[in-house]
Amino acid sequence: MKIGFFTVYKGDPSHYVVADIMIRSCLAVMPDVPIVQMTDMTSPEIPNVTEVRRLPSERMAVLRMRHQAACEGEWLFLDTDCVVKKDVRDVFKSSFDIALANRNWPHIPMTPQLEEFNREMPFNIAIAFSRSPAFWQAAIEKMHQMPEDRQSWMGDQYAVCEVIREGRFTVKVLPGMIYHYPPGAFYDDGNYAAILHYKGHRKPWMIQRYLGVAE
């Protein structure tokens, strides 16, 4: 398995700071797993990556998918604001094209809006196990069919969910409480969680937890 993450530097260094935390967390539990930085032609390399793959700039969501569509073999694609706590290579013992975690998070308060959102997009692609470049290619094509505004905001998520709904690929659904755990509070590490996702407002928690002097 290789780990791939996508980031482009556009002046906000916080993505680089959390990426450093994410990379070190991966190396702590899977020291021999290659980590690949996927980016544009100019963004700086982040320390401790095995390889940097570059493609010419285009819409961020498309560029990310283009990178992922070029990845043959077994890959774990992670957002930079993730922390890996356990070796997750066992996931690839099952047969699938793509494995994504559900949003079954009992510790996150549910609102009608969130319920509606989860129905429309039952998967978040921040953490994706993949052995199918064709899946990501299909998602790119799906994105291109979307209206402009949809392409730039959550377009990749919509596209992935659409491709999954079409049923052309074998999809394994992983328990979100283990493989995609959003901490509910600053000290919440999720008892059984293998991968934490500090999405949204949780990012400062991640920096504070894992980099001593920062808050």
Binding site: Y16, V17, P47, N48, L211, G212, V213, E215
Partner: protein
């Protein structure tokens, strides 16, 4: 003899207008051509000219239209001067302004003058839109030329020579303080000159007619983020520069605003340097000069021959080292090692230079020649090095920030050279400061503290 006659005058062709070094680019609200047309038009009405008045001891309330005015207006005392919407705001609240100032050439500004008052003296810039003059007919109006650029100075030199030009700043808030100075005031209380927006995006205490939409940004001051815009943020910087460079000015800011927070930070900066420079020892002078001479002799080795730390900065850094006695320091940007040697006065120094290999290692100095900051910092992370002091005389890369934090401890002091204009010190502080919310920003010391020699070292120190 009038006050005007006591002020030495400069001919227009001896005045050179320089742009201020703002963090965010600025642009004029009106074209130069329109401004010159407005100036010409304004002089046809026969209004009086503003001239400097004798000094006075009382305090002028300077009233802006920022959101804090809603909570602070009851504290306003006479004499007071308003600007834009604060004119009508005060009238609606039963306070008649003594003075009102305007300097914006856009037409919507005339709407602020729908209720001119007999008791109010109007101090109007000549670049104001022609629509304002009809509104002020029969009122006490004094004109002044606002130096909105070299084009105004040149025009005044050619067509209105001998008259006063006021080079105050880019916004009416700071300009009104300068106008207060011309009225003889040296003490000011500011109301509603905030520099920030409320969380709902509002930036005024009432209706404002400005048609322009400003981009929203956040700015960190006095330990918290403030919602503001590039223009307002620049405006706050202007006031801070004025306060920094004019210590005799007495300005009290009423209300909790971004500007007030920045002034608190400025006072902290002054106090910090006051205490730090108290550690200076006159006997160091010879040693520092000798070190400098020795270091200069290494310049021939440089592959990238560049500038080195200014003398005043070197003394300030030496005083800082004496104050915090760092056991371990990390430096980015060795060059010929002037600052490196200063840092080594109290402990070990790890230093890197991506281009040069000028300085030899010593027992205390561990050079990483021709090595990027990222590579050196990663090595230091692996070795478990934690610094008491970090000195940045090179540009921090985005991938360095996590490494810098990993080499830090809560008590680490971060020093940045070249904190001036948009130089690397400013960029470095902008990159690192958001990740150190428990640290406070300390501006470089004022020239009066450094024998008028420029020191460009800024700090982030534990709060």
């Amino acid at each position: 003899m009038t006050v005007m006659q006591t002020i030495p005058s400069l001919p227009a062709d001896a005045i050179r207008v320089e742009n201020l070094s703002f963090k965010y680019p600025t642009r004029s609200a009106t074209t130069h051509e329109a401004e010159l047309r407005h100036i010409e038009q304004s002089l046809t009405h026969g209004f009086q000219r503003l001239t400097p008045m004798p000094l006075r001891d009382d305090t002028l309330s300077v009233v802006g239209f920022g959101p804090t005015l809603m909570e602070t207006w009851q504290q306003i005392t006479h004499p007071c001067i308003t600007m834009s919407g604060s004119h009508d705001f005060l009238i609606e609240h039963g306070v008649i302004p003594d003075y009102h100032a305007q300097m914006d050439g856009r037409e919507h500004q005339a709407k602020f003058l729908e209720h001119p008052q007999r008791e109010t003296t109007y101090l109007m810039s000549t670049i104001c839109h022609p629509a304002v003059w009809g509104r002020l007919a029969g009122h006490a109006v004094y004109l002044w030329h606002n130096v909105h650029g070299q084009h105004v100075v040149d025009w005044v030199g050619r067509y209105d020579a001998g008259n006063l030009v006021v080079a105050a700043g880019t916004h009416i808030g700071i300009t009104t303080i300068h106008l207060g100075g011309l009225l003889g005031f040296r003490k000011f209380r500011l109301f509603g000159i905030d520099g920030h927006r409320l969380q709902d995006g509002k930036r005024h205490a009432g209706v404002h007619y400005d048609p322009n939409v400003q981009r929203l940004i956040t700015r960190f001051a006095d330990g918290r983020d403030w919602l503001t815009s590039p223009q307002m943020s620049n405006g706050c910087d202007e006031v801070i520069w004025m306060l920094r460079d004019n210590p005799a000015l007495e300005i009290d800011i009423v209300g909790d605003s971004l500007l007030a927070a920045m002034v608190r930070d400025l006072h902290i900066s002054k106090d910090y340097w006051e205490r730090t420079l108290g550690y200076l020892d006159a006997t160091w002078a010879d040693g520092l000069i000798q070190q400098r001479t020795q270091a200069e002799s290494l310049r021939f080795k440089a592959d990238f021959n560049t500038g080195t730390i200014p003398v005043a900065s070197a003394f300030c850094l030496r005083a800082l080292v004496e104050r915090i006695r760092p056991v371990v320091s990390i430096e980015i940007g060795t060059f010929i090692g002037i600052s490196t040697t200063i840092l080594a006065a109290s402990g070990q120094v790890y230093t890197c230079d991506k281009d040069n290999d000028c300085l030899p290692n010593t027992e205390r100095i561990h050079c990483h020649p021709k090595t990027t900051s990222t590579v050196m910092l990663e090595r230091l992370v692996r070795e478990g090095v934690h610094a008491d002091l970090m000195f940045f005389d090179g540009r921090i890369q985005p991938q360095d920030i996590a490494l810098i934090l990993r080499c830090s401890k809560p008590s680490t002091v971060y020093a940045f050279d070249d904190y001036i204009r948009r130089e690397k010190g400013v960029c470095n502080v902008e990159l690192l400061e958001p990740f150190l919310p428990r640290h406070r920003f300390v501006q470089p010391p004022t020239p009066e503290r450094t024998a008028q020699m420029p020191c460009t070292v800024a700090l982030l120190v534990p709060a």
